[in-house]
């Protein structure tokens, strides 16, 4: 699955990927000649997910939840409209649920069956999220998966795994780092990492 999984890396050698590249180009030409696709629309789609929709969207949501208790309450109660307040909505985020991390419970999101991920707030998923190692182990041995990310949680923290098997998309609300009292939303957003909103990471510390 993963291009970066060393065990599998040699399975797809350059010629195979080169062949895929040629086939993709050929198919795009055929589909364009037939009038099924407009290449300019493809450019807009790519630009949208490369430049506009990504984890900085989610970071804004989390920072607002940290700074504004009323917003946090709305987000945890019904995340889809709360996120739409900031302007993020749509494909692969039609039904979003926000998961609150606490000292007692740490949430981690996975899609064991494919790659379900809340696009409007996090963008497209990274390769590791779609890879066999993550999808297989997150539900069975999550502490070892967290260790792969350099994250170690207290032994008595409950780890709650959310396998995204339907069209509900999950966004983790990490705990606000200590030492950030009085910070603006903009400054707080800089501490929110993509992985902290999946549950495989923690927010940056203000000392970092």
């Amino acid at each position: 699955m993963s291009e970066h999984d060393h065990d599998h890396h040699h399975d797809h050698d350059h010629s195979e990927l080169a062949e895929t590249q040629l086939r993709v180009r050929a198919l795009e030409t055929v589909l364009t000649e037939k009038g099924y696709v407009d290449p300019a629309a493809l450019d807009v789609l790519i630009e949208t997910y490369e430049k506009k929709v990504g984890p900085r969207n989610g970071a804004r949501v989390i920072a607002k939840a940290w700074a504004d208790p009323a917003y946090r309450a709305r987000l945890l109660k019904n995340a889809t409209p709360a996120i739409a307040e900031i302007g993020y909505a749509g494909r692969q985020g039609e039904h979003i649920v926000a998961l609150e991390n606490t000292p007692k419970q740490h949430n981690v999101v996975v899609c064991t069956l494919c790659s379900c991920y809340p696009w409007p707030v996090l963008g497209l998923p990274p390769v590791w999220y779609k890879s066999a190692p993550y999808r297989s182990r997150a539900v069975a041995d999550p502490r070892s998966v967290l260790a792969d990310f350099g994250v170690s949680l207290p032994k008595d923290t409950e780890i709650r795994i959310w396998d995204s098997t339907a069209e509900i998309r999950y966004l983790v609300v990490p705990m606000r780092p200590a030492g950030t009292e009085g910070w603006s939303e903009e400054k707080l957003a800089e501490l929110v990492t993509r992985d902290s909103m999946i549950g495989t990471g923690l927010p940056k510390s203000p000392k970092d």
Binding site: M1, S2, H4, D5, D11, H12, L17, T20, R23, V24, R25, A26, L27, E28, T29, V30, L31, G35, Y36, V37, D38, A41, L42, D43, L45, I46, T48, E50, G54, A89, R91, G93, E94, L113, C114, P126, V127, W128, K130, A132, P133, S136, V139, A140, P142, R143, D148, F149, K155, T157, E158, I159, R160, I161, D163, S164, T165, A166, E167, I168
Partner: protein
């Protein structure tokens, strides 16, 4: 289906390797394969469950040795060929050799933003009552469908608790086969780690899946 896509709990895949500062795409063809897949949904007329089935329905050895966007692209090729929109000789030639089939709509650049913003909500109104309520104990049925299903193997036969009644949603098992949306009640079901993985399971772990009513029976 019990394909290679159903990975939960399968051993031996090694460590997770996060890539620092990972780009959104790793090659130009990945961008085009991604965008073609999204754009072809409109003229192709398939739904997301049909797409997922097209991706997972391949020999496990193939599935596991392909990269993510190779799987997407193979599924796209399969779906457009199955609908007679393009044929093999045209892909080989790299050019259209026949007139196009009439299609309902083509995605224009101006429509991209609003199409993405609209998305594809799956919640539906219903007159039926949910059979289960929050706190109920349920067993995941032992389903081994050859067609598309979203009940992962690792929970089948196991007992969990209804965490939340989510709502009535399009049922992928029907939608993927073209049998219609057939909306069903959807639940978040929570399982203890030890229930799923036995004595080797981490007692501090709980795992939930989102499961439609036909996947569940009272326990």
């Amino acid at each position: 289906m019990n394909g290679a896509q159903d990975m939960g709990g399968k051993p031996g895949f090694g460590p997770v390797n996060p890539e620092p500062n990972e780009p959104v795409f790793h090659a130009e063809w990945e961008k085009r394969a991604f965008a073609l897949t999204l754009a072809m949904g409109m003229p192709g007329g398939w739904n997301i469950d049909m797409s997922r089935f097209a991706r997972e329905n391949r020999p496990p050895g193939e599935y596991l040795s392909m990269t993510y966007y190779q799987i997407w692209f193979a599924a796209l090729e399969h779906m457009i060929k199955a609908r007679g929109l393009v044929s093999d000789d045209e892909i080989a030639a790299g050019h259209s050799l026949r007139p196009p089939k009439p299609v309902k709509r083509v995605l224009s650049p101006a429509d991209v933003a609003k199409t993405l913003h609209r998305g594809g909500p799956t919640e539906r109104e219903t007159n039926t009552k949910a059979e289960f309520k929050s706190g109920d104990r349920v067993r995941a049925r032992n389903i081994n469908a050859r067609t598309h299903t979203r009940l992962p193997a690792y929970v089948r036969g196991h007992v969990g608790t209804i965490e939340r009644v989510i709502g009535c949603h399009v049922f992928p098992d029907s939608n993927a086969t073209g049998a219609g949306e057939n909306p069903q009640w959807l639940y978040n079901v929570r399982f203890d780690g030890r229930e799923l993985w036995g004595a080797d399971g981490d007692p501090t772990v709980k795992v939930s899946v989102d499961a439609w009513e036909p996947y569940l029976e009272p326990a």
